[in-house]
Symmetry: C2
Subunit: 149 residues, 2 copies
DNA sequence: TATTGATATATGTTTAAACATCCATATAGT
DNA sequence: ACTATATGGATGTTTAAACATATATCAATA
């Protein structure tokens, strides 16, 4: 379904308005799907984002600030996102010995398990969700890179 | 800057994971810019979305349900978004005579004025923000349409 | 017309985002 | 060493999103 039909708007002012609207609409669509996907696992997509970052470092530690710099949403409220993950025993936090301001964050075994369960399903789900050939997916990705300037 | 650098992740599992992440990242980037843009006007981008829909009907009326079906974010909490716009005198709501459940929403003169002020600036801002040629913008838009299946 | 199911909206509650402010510590320059 | 500034993080408050449920009305039909 074209964006015109999705939001019942027959015309756009120009190609830039159209692509801006389509981009936000499509990302919202994807995020809704992801949200549904993550619900049975008891986490949100931001929380998944953090877990994935931490797994990339495992068994290393990483600071909150470093997590922030790697997040998809750079405005994330990291302290409170971390609190929620700690409450679920998916990550743990210890004071950093080198920098007393900072904390060392590490993913727990339980966190790794949850993540592995998710991975098992996420690949297939992404491929069937995104109705593009591999080449088109790469092309779309590179247009997105370019679009940000 | 490529998505790999933006989120400091050197590789992705496959083209679909990459494009999904890039899409959400890029939409977030755009939404942040829009948010900054709208701030001086005292509205959010969802509120702008509603105003634009209402102007499209002006001087006609439209129901909340109809607004919802045209929103970019289909999960919007319409009643409360409308409340906020009413409080700012940008729209007004009257009971619908044909259907006593529904309300007739209409944009006010003040709402139209705010919208016109915004339009004056938004076009240029979108064109300089989105670093694509017109052709690339259309191509990106059509890949987004296709991607949703 | 009485009933069933759908529709339009409102509202309560929980959770998270947005924004500002604050504190401790680290770093750089003098 | 001392001061200014930057950084990492916590926390308070306001606002909005998410989710469920409630209420009134409508439309179809038995």
């Amino acid at each position: 379904m074209k964006i015109e039909e999705e939001i019942k708007q027959s015309a756009f002012k120009n190609a830039y308005q159209k692509v801006a609207i389509n981009l936000i609409y499509t990302a919202g669509w994807l995020q809704n799907k992801q949200q549904e996907f993550f619900k049975p696992f008891g986490i949100t997509s931001s929380q998944f984002n953090i877990l994935r970052i931490l797994r990339g470092q495992h068994p290393g530690k990483i600071s909150g600030a470093e997590i922030k710099s790697r997040m998809l949403d750079k405005n994330s409220d990291i302290p409170r996102l971390l609190d929620r993950l700690i409450k679920k025993n998916l990550i743990s936090k210890t004071p950093c010995p080198n920098d007393k301001r900072a904390a060392d964050i590490i993913i727990t075994e339980e966190g790794l398990q949850v993540l592995n369960q998710i991975d098992f399903q996420i690949d297939e789900s992404e491929k069937t969700l995104i109705q593009l050939s591999k080449e088109e997916a790469l092309q779309l990705s590179s247009l997105l890179d370019k679009c940000r300037g």
